[in-house]
Symmetry: C2
Subunit: 363 residues, 2 copies
């Protein structure tokens, strides 16, 4: 199969309210590759620096946190929580930015759009994503809010609970999305969290339209069940109308379709998008494409910090997909990347991922 | 033994050029405890944020680094090296600041003097040292150089090679050393690296004089063999004249006394200071006090990153010493703390050190 030739069927049926221009831009059949892509993946997301500290369940309770979830906090709450937190480790984060870093580490050609401030943490974010080989053209915000940070508490069970101050991310808007860049990428990968900052939804739609206008594919991560709750109608419309590849975990997909049973939600996803990739933690993952169903086992790992597990899975999957691998191979690449990331603190890879993939016979 | 009652003999003989006021302030015999101390340890050092990245030996060669050493770089060189470095993990560092953090984690009462800037990395440093329970009263530098950073490359053998941009640390001076605070601490622990910033040597001597005037003890870490080379005469004078407890590794003590053989250097240290504590990596450590010699085995550890090993050892040792433990117990506490710190990236403790100490029967 030619590189970049992703066999994803068109979205089945007109269904919900669909952007007509985007639909017209779609190729009539499963193949959409037209001109060779410069980038395998273009990620768009909240550019965030993580502050990771260990805490016990009592700390989460005292600060009214929902374990495993992400909540948005303002600058004042961020300062207060930081003051109460144990010593931390700082590292670049952001869900789709993490995916971009992992994909680049796996050898994919990757670009990223996200908004940092012109400050020290912004410089850290820029350094790290550049250093791993990701093209990051977004201008920093000068004179406004500081670079976003996510205060992450990791409990002894390895679960991470996140408190995000969006800072400069709230200023990402359509001006930061250059259609030419979008057109150069096989897959434009959008972060569900981007529905939170007010101006980003418009940027989201602009990116999706530009991708389809260039006969490229759009992928979306639902990010977080609470995020889905906050924006369910918009997500439903986007998924049915503009998304070719959907990433979600069990809780997120159940929330999107308001289903109690995972299986029912999965079938609705199958009907809505060309390719649905559903992760289930230690139960592995499920890949749905038209009538096909592929089940992938999780790769066993010593769980130290689950931060970035889903991001790494998506990165492995998309790297495989844009390299023309089978769905089963894509899923295994995702599982291997996720297992590496949860085995240490922080969401960016530490081990040599290409060696791990090669050892599994997936190069 | 009463808490804070450290049995260290007076420096043997007048020897070299000694600060007369400090000598007069010394108690005539090994006991110096007069009024109860508020702090077990007051650390004074360069307040630094570490940026830790993995690199191979080729990277060190290409950037003309001496493996395992610390070198000083200016702002321009720091920017250039950072741009060339792989993605990093940021965490609070600084040799004596690391010791203070470890000692606080072990349950000691600790204060710290060091200079950060009024910027994001300075806020990270302040948060982390406060969060672990260290009193940190030094005002930040406003409007000058940024907070110091140390770019640390960790090679596959676990060795760390450090490149320090001193930034705000160069402004630490006598005004930051409050004699009253020094007088409240059983041991004032000085960082050899503080001889590098120009104004800090005076602060160093002021602190040592204030400690002895209050009948307290002065400890010194030689920090780095290259640092000793840069300031050998000043170190020799300080060690013989004002230091009660000396920490050094094999290479540093050999450099201080310009000896090829460790044993010869160790005997010169024994003659110079009341208590010499010499670390030898996996060969353990040697403690010399007057005629006594105590040999301590290293605690086996999986070495991932040796950054902070010596700092953690000194912290464990001083925590034991100020709690009135035997020299053998102090050395074992040091070895346990060092083993914990080298088993992960970063110089600050991750495991519960008090539990490790209790498990070894040293609580």
């Amino acid at each position: 199969m030619e590189n970049g030739d992703l066999l994803i069927p068109d979205r089945p049926g007109p269904g919900l309210d669909v952007n007509e221009a985007a639909v017209r831009a779609h190729p009539p059949k499963g193949k959409w590759h037209v001109t060779e892509a410069t980038y395998d993946i273009l990620g768009i997301g909240n550019a965030i620096v993580d502050v990771v500290a260990r805490a016990d369940d009592g700390f989460l309770s005292r600060h009214a946190m929902q374990k495993g979830a992400m909540r948005l906090i303002d600058a004042e709450a961020a300062d207060a929580l930081y003051a109460a937190m144990p010593p931390g480790l700082e590292s670049s984060g952001g869900s789709v930015a993490n995916s971009c870093a992992v994909a680049a580490a796996l050898g994919a050609q990757v670009a990223y759009i996200g908004k940092v401030a012109d400050d020290q943490l912004g410089a850290v974010f820029r350094h790290d994503i550049n250093a791993i080989g990701v093209h990051f053209p977004t201008d920093p915000l000068a004179g406004g809010a500081p670079t976003a940070r996510c205060l992450i508490l990791v409990t002894p069970d390895g679960q991470r609970t996140m408190n995000t101050y969006l800072g400069a991310c709230t200023t990402l808007d359509v001006g930061d999305v250059h259609p030419h860049l979008v057109g150069l990428a096989s897959v434009t990968y959008l972060e569900g969290y981007l529905f939170d900052p007010p101006a980003a939804q418009a940027a989201f739609h602009k990116a999706a339209d530009a991708a389809h206008a260039a006969n490229r594919r759009v992928a979306l991560s639902l990010s977080d069940a609470f995020c889905v709750n906050r924006h369910r109608a918009a997500f439903r419309k986007l998924v049915a109308g503009q998304v070719d590849i959907l990433f979600a975990n069990e809780v997120e997909i159940a929330s999107l379709y308001e289903q109690d049973r995972f299986e029912a939600a999965a079938e609705l996803a199958r009907a809505d998008v060309g390719l649905a990739v559903l992760t289930r933690s230690e139960a592995g993952s499920l890949i749905l494409r038209g009538d096909e169903t592929v089940t992938i086992a999780a790769v066993p790992a010593r769980i130290l910090d689950t931060t970035g597990a889903g991001d790494a899975y998506a990165a492995g999957f998309l790297t495989g997909l844009t390299a023309g691998k089978s769905l089963a191979a894509c899923g295994r690449m995702g599982s291997i990347a996720a297992a590496e990331v949860i085995s240490h603190y922080g969401a960016r890879p530490e081990a040599d991922l290409q060696t791990l993939i090669a050892a599994a016979g997936l190069s």
